[in-house]
Amino acid sequence: MEILVNSATCYKNNNIIFKNANIILDNSEICIVMGPNGCGKTTFIKCLCKIENLDSGHILIDNINIQDRKSNYLDNIIYIGHKNSLNDDLTVTENLEYLGAFDQTVNKNSVNKIKDAMEYFDIYKYKDFMVSELSEGNKKKTSLARLILSQKKIWLLDEPLSFLDEIAVKNLINLFSKHQKIGGIIVASSHYDFSDDVDNFKFFKMEN
């Protein structure tokens, strides 16, 4: 698995969001996208999963352009944006069950796995709570529990650490290194310095 971003440029209403972004990521590499507010971190990550399109340059995953029709990049990508992608009117458990509809790598009828995922992030006690009743941190944890359930190789995370408490941050970093050991790739935007916790670590600095 390899991600290659080549002179990617993105405009919005004639404003440059970012330009000439180049990055190569191989198996077991973690890339932290850093930069001040408004420098295009979110847009960059959205471009990687084609929610937004580049204006020039290209993104190759396993040497196939993601704009290409025959690219099956979505089979390998899990994207968690800073909107949590949770349905407010479903409970935490139901939301995680619903995930199987969007991700074929999630084991269906995996009641135990869902329980494990909730326990990992310490939200099992909220399992029957509506998502709308949860605090922001717990919503974030619920959406991050998707990472445990899914077996996809590439994780694209937009500000995964926001709203999380210290223990949850530690849990997430453990999860990162676990994923790294099995050869996964992670692209995350964050202000947290991961360099002490994980190796094979790349910085990607963006500027205004």
Binding site: N53, L74, Y79, S85, D88, L90, G100, A101, D103, K152
Partner: protein, 220 residues
């Protein structure tokens, strides 16, 4: 899987029963306004009541499909649709069907009561019911399409109806013509067949169209 998806849709509507009752109440309120405005002219009423019922049905479908994707957009569920590795077309199809089941079907079920209130003959009300049964799924799917189209724009409450209503015209023409024919004693099966054809044309392509539209409106 499909059983699970259907269950989720049902749960969502049963938890928000006001989404089911409010369109119904709205329908009856609008219908009952007409006699107040037009006065107790029985002859006039016999002529216009099928049209009144249809216009009210249109307003109701517009109202219930207007903000169909709004919550999903704000919660980021649409982003999950777009990055999903399984086809979301099935989910979108089930959502259209569920929306119809819970907003239009109650209205159709209450049609006998409306016929009784306005003294519509049995045959007329039967045709109105059939046209509604085939027309409202088309109206709902076009309305949902409109809401997907205007998703990325802020403050689009009025824009969606403006885009959507012109696409309602074919359905309206053929339903009105069917209702006209039956009150004149002419055969009306041709119009019903055309409505059915429209229905079977639009329902299967709508999920694909919706997915494409969602991609576009998120992308702008």
């Amino acid at each position: 899987m499909i059983k699970n998806l259907i269950k989720k849709e049902l749960i969502l509507y049963f938890r928000n029963l006001n989404n089911v009752f409010l369109p119904l109440i709205f329908f009856f309120l609008i219908i009952s306004i007409f006699p107040l405005v037009l006065g107790p002219d029985k002859l006039l009423f016999d002529n216009i009541i099928p049209g009144v019922i249809w216009i009210t049905a249109i307003l109701t479908t517009l109202l219930s499909s207007n903000n169909f994707f709004r919550d999903d957009y704000n919660n980021g569920v649409i982003e999950m649709y777009l990055t999903s590795s399984t086809g979301v077309e099935l989910i979108l199809f089930l959502r259209i069907i569920a929306c119809w089941l819970f907003t239009c079907l109650p209205i159709i079920l209450f049609m006998p009561l409306v016929s009784l209130l306005f003294d519509i003959s049995f045959e007329d009300s039967f045709v109105i019911l059939i046209t509604l049964l085939m027309g409202t799924p088309i109206l709902i799917s076009i309305g949902i399409f409109g809401s997907a189209l205007t998703l990325g724009l802020a403050r689009n409450n009025i824009l969606t109806p403006i885009i959507v209503i012109p696409f309602y015209i074919p359905v309206l023409i053929f339903s009105a013509s069917a209702i006209d024919s039956v009150s004149l004693g002419l055969p009306y099966d041709m119009q019903l067949f055309i409505l059915m054809a429209l229905l079977f044309l639009i329902l299967p392509i709508m999920p694909y169209l919706l997915k494409y539209t969602l991609e576009l409106s998120i992308n702008n």
